[in-house]
């Protein structure tokens, strides 16, 4: 417990009140917009116009909505991936790297079987992409399981390794021979490209996201394995007591978590980029962490929150055309995050009058 100022303390709520789930984020967003409005007005902008354009950019047209969905696809998939690990209190910060490794393996298939106009190219890309992401996540999972090595640091560091590995490939061995030396692989053949929805850029990755959300929901709440994951996450001591093999679950959960992030990478190269390139992801694996957290790790909520984050990014660029510098947009996005995360704290904690003595005997600090 920490003291804020004399007489009051911030206490953890035993059970967050149910209404706060909806009200607190809403109030947080309104507060962020209000504070943002002050900054916009101070820098001589019409905040109402800015918000209108931002909203219209993301939701105001069919195109805006489809693009928001396009942006939400990798966010949903990686969000689901890291959320599974978070369930077990495995802090997989490596979604970004696992995404890149998935993209790498999928590209390997696409480049090596570029002549094969066969039905099996895409399934093979999916399989190998997931396998690569999963194995990449196992690298930090093994030392975590055996020696208790902190996975936050190892997963984070492996992100850089994966990104630099892909950079090495696109700048070197995998560079498109017809690409004027630019850091891009050759474009994929049609057999290696995910089908899209109508004339939009929404690709089959959307269904990956929806399917995995449903699958995870069933696994977590309705299967024995999911039950084990929940017990391990809530209380490792109880898990050990119940005879649950924690190490096995660490490996399994990290593998699946990484595999799902790898699938996001596969979907991004095959559905959007149609080739591997430098800067494939704009930090999806990191944004996924915030999304998972805000969604309280619930698979269906992740879809919704990822969509909202997609909207925030889509709306963010378009609002520049009303004369808002991109730094201002970044500030607005930052404010929204700051307030929503701050509000999150409020749902779990409350301010209470300090009692003269704590009633629990063992916490004497």
């Amino acid at each position: 417990m920490m003291t804020v100022f004399s007489g009051y303390v911030i206490e953890k709520r035993l059970v967050p009140s149910s209404t706060s789930f909806v009200i607190v984020p809403l109030v947080s967003i309104i507060l962020a917009l209000l504070v943002g409005a002050v900054f916009l007005v101070l820098s001589g902008h019409n905040f109402w116009e800015v918000y209108k354009v931002m909203f219209a950019g993301a939701f105001g047209s069919i195109y805006g909505i489809t693009e928001t969905i396009v942006k939400a696809i990798p966010l949903t998939i990686t969000g689901l991936g890291v959320a599974l690990a978070f369930r077990m209190q495995l802090w997989n910060i490596g979604g970004e790297g696992q995404l890149y490794m998935g993209a790498f393996a999928a590209t390997w298939v696409a480049l090596n079987f570029s002549d094969a106009e066969e039905w099996w190219v895409l399934p093979l890309m999916i399989t190998l992409g997931m396998l690569a992401g999963g194995l990449w996540a196992l690298v930090p999972a093994i030392p975590r399981a055996i020696w208790g090595v902190n996975e936050i640091i190892t997963t984070l560091m492996l992100n850089y390794v994966a990104i630099f590995w892909v950079d090495y490939l696109v700048y070197g061995p995998w560079k498109d021979p017809n690409g004027y030396n630019f850091p891009l692989t050759a474009p994929f053949s049609p057999a290696a490209i995910l089908p899209v929805l109508g004339h939009s850029r929404i690709h089959a990755g959307l269904f990956f996201g929806l399917f995995i959300a449903l699958l995870f929901y069933i696994i977590i709440y309705h299967t024995r394995w999911g039950y084990e994951i929940r017990v391990c996450g809530e209380s490792p001591d109880a898990a050990r007591y119940a005879g649950i093999n924690i190490n096995k679950n660490i490996l399994l959960v990290m593998f699946v978590s990484g595999a799902v992030c790898g699938l996001a990478g596969m979907a991004e190269v095959s559905g959007i980029a149609h080739r591997l390139q430098h800067g494939l992801s704009t930090g999806y694996g990191y944004t996924a962490i915030i999304i998972a957290w805000l969604s309280r790790l619930h698979p269906f909520v992740i879809i919704v929150v990822a969509f909202l984050f997609g909207a925030l990014q889509v709306g963010g660029y378009i609002v520049q055309t009303s004369g808002i510098p991109s730094s201002m947009v970044a500030m607005l996005q930052g404010l929204l995050l700051f307030f929503v995360l701050g509000g999150e704290l409020l749902t779990n904690y409350r301010i209470a009058r300090k009692t003269p003595a704590y009633s629990s005997g063992d916490d004497a600090s």
Partner: protein, 379 residues
């Protein structure tokens, strides 16, 4: 608690009042716009910030020039800091088209495929992509012969170096950058056959800290003049901090490092943008590639590229030499890549008196003699 919450509430009320007042003022502005005559809307997409002091700023200065010169143009729609990631670029370009822009300039190589993709859906919009090699009915590819200005700056550097090691902080091993390095080296070697140009890749256009580290590594390796192909003045600042000299790029970088910068090869897009927009409006423009794969590839003669004013440390003798060479290029009598030119292995790649074609220059993927560095090659 009550005290605190009152303070909080009063702040909210204040914020609300300010916001409402501002909304009132803004409302009038929107109506005025609607009453104006329909203007020709021109949009721009930038990889960096319009204040980056480099590549994107140079394009944005061109945009401002365009707005000033052609009163019927509304070029207020520009989007900065757009990543080259496939997800974002394509959407931003589409949204510019959706907002009624009839001409859209996309100013980074990575926007090439997205531009082509979007152009298919908007046949009545003209797209102009800078630095790529793909064109279409309504997509033009434009660029400037920066290598000419690079060559001139090489003359300055070659005269200035004492250690005979010149450092070059390069972005990515693509033909544009390689061509610049080669042209610069040819300039250096013309006045100083002993000098070497060391190249370090940063693999990024905009990362001032990476650029600074690369420059410091080159300074450690004995370089006493630092030049660069980056979107920030960080390498010149590193040179100034080490008491060494430098040559900028993109725009006049003497403000960022006045003691170091001797000159900078710079872009001047304004006149080209004005000419192009006029031609499109009048229907005289077409996208046919005229210089190899490019619709437009202007050089010193058009003023699209040039040198920024010299710093006080540059002797008059050098200034005269630069002017002389510049006139030689403008006259068309000679161009930078005219043989004999040897590659790093000492083999003659361009025979005596032969001029490289535009096609060859746009595909350049080898270093001339005098460059120390490697180009990663596909397998």
């Amino acid at each position: 608690m009550s005290n605190k919450s009152w303070r909080l509430i009063s702040v909210f009320i204040l914020v609300l009042l300010i916001s409402l007042a501002a909304a009132g003022c803004g409302g009038g502005g929107i109506d005025e716009n609607k009453n104006e005559v329909e203007k020709l809307k021109v949009g721009f997409v930038y990889i960096g910030s319009v204040k980056d002091g480099g590549w994107s700023q140079a394009h944005d200065e061109g945009r401002q020039y365009l707005e000033k010169e052609l009163p019927y143009v509304d070029a207020s729609d520009y989007v900065e800091n757009v990543p080259e990631s496939p997800g974002d670029a394509e959407r931003v370009i589409t949204q510019l088209a959706e907002q009624g822009n009839k001409i859209i300039f996309t100013t980074s190589f990575g926007y090439m495929d997205p531009t082509i993709n979007v152009a298919k859906n908007y046949p009545d919009v003209t797209f102009l992509h800078c630095s790529g090699y793909k064109t279409a009915e309504n997509v033009g590819a434009y660029f400037g012969r920066m290598y000419q200005a690079r060559y001139l700056s090489g003359l300055v550097a070659g005269k200035a170096t004492v250690s005979n090691i010149i450092g070059y902080v390069a972005a990515m091993p693509i033909p544009e950058v390689i061509r610049g390095i080669n042209a610069f080296t040819l300039g250096v070697k013309k006045v100083n056959p002993e000098a070497k140009v060391k190249v370090v890749w940063t693999n990024t256009w905009i990362d001032p800290s990476a650029a600074k580290r690369a420059a410091e590594a080159l300074l450690d390796a004995g370089a006493d003049v630092i030049t660069q192909h980056q979107d920030s003045p960080a390498p010149q600042q590193a040179a100034q901090a080490a008491g060494k000299l430098g040559i900028g790029y993109n725009s006049d970088m003497s403000k960022a490092a006045p003691k170091a910068v001797m000159t900078s090869p710079i872009w001047n897009w304004g006149p080209y943008y004005v000419e192009t927009v006029k031609a499109i409006k009048e229907g005289t423009w077409d996208s046919t590639p005229k210089c190899a794969s490019l619709t437009y590839w202007g050089g010193l003669e058009d003023g699209v590229v040039g040198l920024a004013p010299f710093g006080p440390m540059v002797p008059d003798e050098v200034k005269q030499l630069v002017e002389q060479e510049k006139q030689r290029i403008i006259s068309g009598a000679w161009d930078v890549f005219t043989g004999p030119i040897k590659d790093q292995k000492g083999e003659v790649r361009i025979a005596d008196g032969k001029r490289m074609t535009d096609e060859e220059m746009l595909n350049m993927n080898w270093f001339v003699e005098g460059v120390e560095g490697t180009i990663p090659a596909p397998k």
